[in-house]
């Protein structure tokens, strides 16, 4: 018998097997209690509530969302660049500083990156109360670390021989450093930075569901009162904001020759960063933080994890990650393969847009209308949301790909599906899997949100511990989350390096 040999294409389809346990659990947990509500929700999508009051609230909430998203994006970009440079090898080659500082900084950034903005938001809200600044700071903390990682990776790609040649000119160290890192930083900002603004808008919407403000808060309040028509007005508003911002960003073609604009932009970024740093320091040290007035709280609060079955929750979180990742990887190629015609692809695009638009916490609340809380429900929610994102990328890459092989295969009489599989998808499989590996890093971090809402894994425990101000438990959960994320990231880095 031939030995089973897996390649990138087959590995992409294999995780569809996660559907077996998920379907089974969803089936046994199914109930029809909320079917009527769900029907109403679907119908309301086409009949959103429009009156002066709603429009006024919508505009106000969108303004808040833009404010939080834009401020956090700007601050996280600037500090991301600075920390990205500080955590790159080249910085230490030019400025002769001990390398343990780099290791220490990278460790610190890995830790703050591993915890989702929602968790930061929940923790900060519990300490400082609800206000706009919480939204900005909660998004900024992981975003700064994520941006720093991306910028640092791009800076590391500079040819070391170029570094030597510029060093050999013997200019002052800051001039040498800026001359070397400038182009990778600007290039990364163009390719990645603008996309992060879209991410910041989405994160703001999700944070809003937890009360920080912005459109998310209105969406959540409408859902709580089961006012689905109003809910859809806000959801379409959010869709409008995402589409408009994307279109504007596409138009915003930053060129090296736009001298005045660049100069102003850099100066503005610098001023805003200084301002935000001072604001951050003020916020941390002078604002009242009643429940968390000393570090002693960490030591004197109870740690009663055995009763919470901590290990079970940890395991649930890991299983949730694996199931969601399986869905996110396998669904897009599977559905594109089986509905590979113009109408099918259009429907896939519309559905994936809706799954991207509806924040995962809201999606799980909708699914809870006809299913009991379970790992499978959380996994399908998180998986579908992320599959919507991976499908967007896959469709875009397939569209841009050279299709001569596909046409050649079809002309040989090969079926459309086989031609697509062997003529188009095979070429994309490696890069698609590499992107999915990156996506799974995000899925690991996102399990926290689903945990909070869907009563699964550590997220649920975090909510409980925060509500009872059990800071020691909160700390242990954060460390557990961070450990899972860091281990996941290490595994994914290994996978990515094997694939690319």
């Amino acid at each position: 018998m031939n030995k089973l040999k897996l390649n990138s294409s087959s590995i992409t389809f294999l995780p569809i097997l996660v559907c077996i346990p998920i379907t089974y659990e969803l089936f046994i947990n199914f109930h029809i209690g909320g079917i009527e509500l769900f029907r109403e929700f679907i119908i309301s999508a086409l009949n959103p509530k429009i009156n002066n009051e709603i429009i006024f609230t919508l505009v106000k909430r969108l303004n808040e969302t833009v404010f939080i998203a834009f401020s956090s994006w700007l601050i996280s970009m600037m500090f991301g660049v600075i920390l990205g440079i500080l955590s790159s090898e080249i910085f230490y080659k030019i400025i002769n500083l001990p390398k343990f500082l780099k290791r220490f900084l990278n460790l610190f950034l890995t830790f703050i990156r591993s915890i989702h903005e929602i968790i930061w938001g929940l923790v900060l809200m519990q300490i400082y109360g609800i206000n706009f600044s919480i939204g900005v700071i909660a998004i900024c903390i992981p975003y700064i670390a994520i941006n720093a990682k991306v910028f640092s990776e791009q800076i590391e790609n500079i040819n070391l021989k170029t570094v030597e040649s510029i060093k050999q000119i013997n200019g002052n160290k800051s001039s040498t450093l800026i001359s070397l890192v400038w182009t990778p930083v600007i290039k990364t900002f163009k390719n990645f930075g603008l996309y992060r603004l879209e991410c910041a808008i989405r994160s703001t919407a999700v944070l809003g569901l937890f009360g920080v403000g912005g459109i998310g808060t209105s969406i959540f309040l409408s859902f709580q009162t089961l006012n689905f028509r109003e809910l859809w007005t806000y959801l379409w508003g959010l869709a409008f904001l995402i589409i408009i911002s994307k279109e504007l960003l596409n138009k915003f073609n930053l060129s090296y020759s736009s001298k005045k604009f660049l100069t102003l932009f850099v100066i503005a970024l610098f001023c805003i960063s200084l301002f935000s740093l001072s604001f951050f320091v003020y916020f941390i040290f002078y604002k009242n933080a009643i429940p968390f007035n000393s570090i002693n709280n960490l030591l004197i609060s109870n740690l009663n994890f055995i009763s919470y079955d901590f290990l079970k929750l940890l395991l649930e979180t890991i299983v949730l990650c694996l199931l969601s990742t399986g869905i996110a990887i396998s669904f897009p190629p599977f559905f594109i393969l089986f509905f590979n015609n113009k109408i099918g692809i259009t429907i896939i695009r519309i559905i994936s847009f809706l799954f991207r638009l509806i924040p995962p916490p809201l999606l799980i609340l909708l699914l809870l209308m006809f299913n009991d809380p379970s790992i499978s429900l959380a996994a399908i929610t998180l998986g579908l949301h992320n599959a919507a994102i991976t499908s967007k990328l896959l469709l875009a890459n397939l569209h841009n790909q050279d299709n001569t092989q596909y046409i050649a295969m079809k002309s040989l009489g090969v079926s459309k599906r086989s031609s697509w599989l062997f003529g188009l998808f095979v070429k994309q499989a490696n890069s698609y899997l590499a992107y999915c590996a990156y996506r799974s890093d995000i899925i690991i971090r996102e399990t926290a949100i689903l945990g909070v809402i869907g009563s699964v894994g550590l997220g649920w425990q975090l909510q409980e511990s925060l509500s009872s101000f059990a800071w020691k438990e909160v700390l242990v959960i954060l460390i557990a989350y961070s450990s899972i994320a860091i281990i996941g990231e290490l595994i994914n880095d290994k996978i990515k390096s094997n694939l690319t």
């Binding site: 170029t162 030597e164 050999q168 013997n170 800051s174 001039s175 040498t176 182009t183």
Partner: protein, 245 residues
């Protein structure tokens, strides 16, 4: 005895691939035009990298202006300029921005910043680029979008604008056609102020082509990391070349 500008004393170097430079001593005096000959892998690039301070020898001493290399300040170090064999230009910057990078040793951080924002003065860079036979149309072109020969001349202009006292060049004529090779060689070896451009008085150029030896006054031959001969150009005989090729 006149102090040499640059001196290597019993220098040995061993890299990761076990390539060794064995007990090399060399004194370079002001005004010398030195051709460094040798087959590929003879150690020419390693020797140049040690002379400009990029590589630190495992043994021996390197002195510039009679001072140990480690004790030199940045200004003194900037008195050596190098044209690298693999050019080592900054990708994605324009040709003129790359040439301006040669001024980093003499200018402030603000200059570097303005250069990157494309708002600094490029007059000096243009002057040097023109002398290196570069056409105006490529001045503002991205370095990725110009030919190998044009890149070579950008690298040469970058090292000349440095206004150094010693020029070290590692096979600088590689990508140039015969006419350009002759022009650039004359530019590097003839120190008269042409077009108000100051060219370093002292030059060490590594070469492969023996037909380019005109204009040099000293020839150094290398093989397997050792200097086999170091003679005046007028004393060069065929058997010298047979030793190294």
């Amino acid at each position: 005895m006149i102090n040499p500008l640059l001196e290597l004393k019993e220098v040995s170097y061993k890299n990761k691939n076990n390539f060794t430079l064995d007990n090399v001593s060399l004194r370079i005096k002001s005004g010398e035009k030195i051709a460094l000959l040798g087959k590929s892998g003879a150690g020419k690039t390693t020797l140049i990298s040690i002379l400009n301070g990029t590589l630190k020898p495992n043994k021996g001493r390197v002195k510039l202006f009679n001072t140990e290399f480690d004790k030199l300040n940045l200004y003194q170090k900037s008195k050596i300029s190098t044209i690298w064999q693999d050019l080592r230009l900054i990708e994605d910057l324009s040709a003129e921005q790359n040439v301006n990078c040669g001024l980093l040793g003499k200018q402030s951080f603000l200059f570097a910043f303005k250069n990157l924002l494309n708002i600094s003065s490029f007059n000096k860079a243009h002057q040097y680029m023109q002398v290196c036979n570069l056409k105006k149309s490529i001045f503002s072109k991205n370095i990725r979008k110009i030919s190998g020969g044009q890149k070579q001349r950008v690298a040469i202009a970058r090292s000349l604008i440095q206004d150094s006292e010693i020029l070290l060049a590692d096979e600088p004529f590689n990508n140039l056609d015969p006419k350009l090779t002759s022009n650039i060689k004359n530019l590097l070896l003839i120190t008269k102020n042409k077009n108000k451009i100051k060219v370093p008085k002292t030059t060490l150029i590594s070469l492969h082509r023996l037909d380019l030896l005109d204009g040099f006054n000293r020839i150094i031959g290398m093989k397997n990391g050792e200097i086999l001969f170091d003679i005046e150009k007028t004393k060069l005989k065929k058997f010298h070349l047979n030793k190294i090729y």
